[in-house]
């Protein structure tokens, strides 16, 4: 606050006051009619800043996503910091392109701004760590003209503890965890990494998925093992998975009764010339609605069968994938067709959503980024069963 004492300075003044005995406080004939001659005021009352004013100030400085923010006061930020076993100044990651130091405190500030509640801190902290892994290619993901967003998937008991939506509307509005964890990541990317749209983030058109793109897997609804188990973790280990992914595209199939028919609808929707995958094959995210997953599984298909079938059949004709001479690497081309994934493992298959016969597909960033799954661990390497374990460490 310009022209006023900071909270810290005011506290310091209290410390400096040596006249706080009752006699001095009751001194008469004080020319300024104050109880204490040293203090500027007898009572200091701190109020929270005005949300609209602070939002506008931050917006003008390009420190928001355009939506109002919660003012990041020290009191609020400290509540976040209490949900971590790191020190406030400890660096979680260096974030490009600006190479900002993502300390716990800075991540907490951006999380408060996003509207997170303090118990989300361990998830946000691990998400920041995940995107900084080399194979994720954050320098490319943050700066590209491609409308790639960062999808955060949470698995395991912490996803349920935080009530992260894995059911109806989980990719849309309405849940504080889904809405603010992804937003905390985006605000950190803007403010710490320096990926300000048009300055450090050069997306030609951007994407609504860049506001927030976070959900949990509906593990209890899935006929298959969840993603974190597939990637080698126990089912009771909580994980965050980050993937560079486009905004999701719907696959509507209300009529297929066999796995093959249903997957063919999905494959047809995914195999398009305009995606990065069509010329630099890479990961493809499939968020399969539980009813679709059940149709496939009831036909006797395992998760591995499903991924393999999609990998082998999701093809784009070379004449479309290589239009204009995109210099496709010959290793991706077979019989005049380009596979949009490099292997069955590039098919990142998870189950989420509510009733209905829909699946969402999200193309990745081609060969230029790979998803990362990290377990949510305490600093000493033990698996956190609950976010409470991070508290006051």
């Amino acid at each position: 606050m310009v022209g006023k004492d900071t909270e810290k300075e005011a506290h310091q003044k209290n410390e400096d006051c040596k006249l706080c005995g009752i006699d001095e406080l009751l001194v008469k004939n004080n020319p300024k009619e104050r109880l204490c001659s040293v203090q500027e005021a007898d009572f200091e009352i701190f109020t929270d800043p005005d949300v609209e004013k602070v939002s506008n100030e931050f917006y003008i400085k390009k420190q928001t996503d355009g939506l109002p923010i919660i003012p990041p006061t020290k009191t609020r930020v400290d509540k976040f910091i209490k949900y971590s076993d790191l020190k406030p100044e400890e660096i979680i990651a260096i974030l490009p392109p600006k190479r900002g130091k993502a300390t716990l405190e800075k991540v907490a500030i951006n999380s408060v701004m996003a509207g997170c509640i303090p118990s989300f801190a361990p998830v946000v902290q691990h998400t920041i760590k995940a995107v900084s892994q080399e194979k994720f290619n954050l320098p490319g993901v943050n700066t590209t003209t491609h409308p790639i967003a960062i999808c955060t998937l949470v698995n395991g008991p912490i996803s349920r503890e935080l009530a992260i939506n894995s059911g109806a509307g989980c990719l849309g509005p309405g849940n504080i965890a889904n809405s603010t964890i992804g937003r905390a990541l985006r605000l950190s990317i803007i403010n710490i990494a320096g990926a300000v749209p048009g300055i450090g983030d050069h997306a030609t058109l951007g994407s609504p998925a860049k506001y927030s793109y976070c959900f949990a897997e509906a593990e209890d609804e899935s006929p298959w093992e969840p993603l974190h188990v597939e990637r080698g973790y126990n089912s009771d280990t909580s994980t965050v998975t980050v993937m560079a992914a486009e905004a999701p595209h719907n696959v509507n199939d209300h009529r297929s009764t066999s796995a093959e028919d249903l997957l063919n609808t999905l494959i047809h929707t995914a195999s398009v010339a305009g995606s990065n995958n069509s010329h630099v094959p890479g990961e493809l995210l499939l968020i399969m609605g539980p009813e679709h997953a059940r149709t496939v599984a009831d036909d006797g298909w395992t998760k591995e069968d499903t991924k393999k079938y999609i990998h082998e059949n999701a093809l784009v004709p070379l004449k479309l994938g290589d239009r204009g001479g995109r210099k496709l690497d010959e290793k991706w081309v077979k019989n005049g067709m380009v596979k949009i994934t490099r292997s069955a493992d590039d098919v990142v298959l998870v189950v989420a959503g509510g009733p209905g016969r829909h699946t969402m597909i999200s193309h990745g960033f081609g060969t230029s980024s790979e998803s990362v799954t990290l377990p949510i661990l305490l600093k000493d390497g033990t698996i956190a069963k609950s976010t409470d374990e991070f508290r006051d460490k």
Binding site: M1, K4, T6, E7, A10, K32, E33, R34, E40, A41, D42, F43, E44, I45, F46, T47, D48, P49, D50, V54, F58, P72, T73, T75, I94, L95, P96, P97, K98, R99, G100, K101, A102, E105, K106, I109, N110, M113, N137, P139, G140, V141, T143, T144, T145, H146, L187, N191, I192, G194, I199, G200, H202, G324, K327, F365, G366, T367, S368, S369
Partner: protein, 172 residues
């Protein structure tokens, strides 16, 4: 009795940055060979060939690297075999990023570089180089856009960075 009402301060969401200065390699007085590192962006090969033709070097190493990701160790090694590496083309976000970061990798390994970026993306390229401690990285501009343009147009546009590179090599 005086009561003072104060608003709580808000904390800054911006972070300190990591900074390690990179010392660039000087351009040698005599250049026996050059390498052309093509990131496969549309027109990059034409730009590099045009520049090579104008400069007139005969001993040339050609390497290709991904546009939106780092070059592999092999690709960078091949590019580092020459006395000077010319990289093209930074004409989008991620390809500019990895053109500059790969140029810095080459500089760190002892190979002087000149990077070609489109004029739209050059300011970002320079800012990125500053963030990575290489504020004086040699970057030349070509008029944007090149993608989707006919060959003759790209050749014409490439004459400007070629002249700039000639100036750098002749130290004028």
């Amino acid at each position: 009795m005086n009561v003072k009402i104060m608003e709580r301060d808000v904390l800054s969401p911006l972070a300190d940055t990591e900074f390690n200065k990179i010392v660039l390699n000087p351009i040698p007085d005599r250049i026996g060979s050059i390498s052309l590192l093509d990131n496969t962006k549309s027109g990059a090969n034409i730009v590099l060939e045009t520049i090579r033709g104008i400069l007139g070097y005969s001993k040339v190493f050609k390497a290709r690297k991904p546009a939106g990701a780092p070059g592999t160790g092999e690709q960078i090694k091949l590019a580092a075999e020459a006395d000077l590496c010319i990289l093209a083309l930074g004409d989008c976000g991620s390809c500019t990023t990895w053109l500059i970061l790969d140029a810095i990798r080459l500089e760190k390994q002892g190979t002087p570089t000149i990077s070609v970026c489109s004029d739209i993306f050059t300011p970002f390229a320079r800012e990125l180089a500053v963030s990575y401690g290489a504020g004086n990285l040699r970057i030349v501009e070509v008029e944007h856009p090149l993608a989707g343009k006919p060959r003759e147009s790209i050749v014409n546009k490439a004459s400007k960075p070629a002249a700039q590179i000639k100036g750098i090599l002749n130290k004028v």
